[in-house]
Symmetry: C2
Amino acid sequence: MRHLYHYWFSPFSRKIRIAMLEKEMEFELELELPWKRRHEFLVLNPAGTVPILIEEDGSTICGNVALTEYLDEAYDQFPLLGKTPSEKAEVRRLTEWFDDKFNTEVTELVISEKVMKRYLKMGETEAAAIRFANQNIKHHLQYISYLTDRRNWLAGDDFSYADIAAAAHISCVDFFGDVPWDHYPEARDWYARIKSRPSMQKILKDNIAGFIPSKHYSNPDF
Amino acid sequence: MRHLYHYWFSPFSRKIRIAMLEKEMEFELELELPWKRRHEFLVLNPAGTVPILIEEDGSTICGNVALTEYLDEAYDQFPLLGKTPSEKAEVRRLTEWFDDKFNTEVTELVISEKVMKRYLKMGETEAAAIRFANQNIKHHLQYISYLTDRRNWLAGDDFSYADIAAAAHISCVDFFGDVPWDHYPEARDWYARIKSRPSMQKILKDNIAGFIPSKHYSNPDF
């Protein structure tokens, strides 16, 4: 059986899980706490990051970009990258937007304050960091509204990695109720459509020991 | 004519320039100072990052991953990503290693202290940040030594994006003489082979107004 090493609040793990579910791939989840730097884990991926995919033949695929591209190359059912080079460029541009820009400006701040500090017993959540994230997320929700006002999905006609990456990051933040949906109805509509997909429902129904999600977290009708 | 917006000390710009030179693509360089957030530049790429490629038909490709993948898809002469899915996964894993991990642990620290602070008149270089980068780079040089001891190039038999990404980042740091080559002879041999390539020679011969490179910077015999 295929194995995927993941961590609940790793947006990159969420992205790859959603993609694998969309592609109807079978796999078993293995929980990994990357900050523990377990020896066998670092042998699999010296960069010390999740997710890591172990294929049935034992081959190991790791690295966010490598795994994202690999899935679409090796499993061409339900393609997530687009068809033409320019469609792919747009999907990848937006995927990177969320994996890089949104991650730095929002996800990392929220997760390091609300999750990592608890695990590592590093004291109280810093209000300034959360205020900063709350301010930053507005620009991203505005951008999602702008894009979905003009397109069916974020990168064009088809559901793609761009939507998956955005939803993976946003869901980590929405877990704590830190997304001001009321002011961004187009972004909310887009997220409601993603929430109602079986792949996303599965992620949103995760039971994460020690953490309780916001009320509307898994509800597509919010 | 094709145009590439770049900045001298952007390792991502260097990576794409080297790749385009390896593929013998013709293009004109346009210097962009991203921190000035020029309006026309932000219209091309709302993320505000270089490099940006404008193709002859006017299409715009931006985003580090998007551009990296696009070049190999659209210009298949001298492929840089490998052939099989697992070869590609290894090239991408190592490309990301340098573009992400090395960038955070080394390049960004050196460039923000030695370049950005001068441009933005933010005061003196902080010795602690440079010491931190100098400490971090050792692990990366060790990793390069480990890999090239076992392989012809970083990701396997062939010269690939992994070598290009590594050389792009290292060259930004080596500009300031911050690479302890003496202790890593295998890494030095690998870098000497890259330095002697016409693509890399072109990059290393850039005249960058206001900055003087370390003595050995462009010399393949160092």
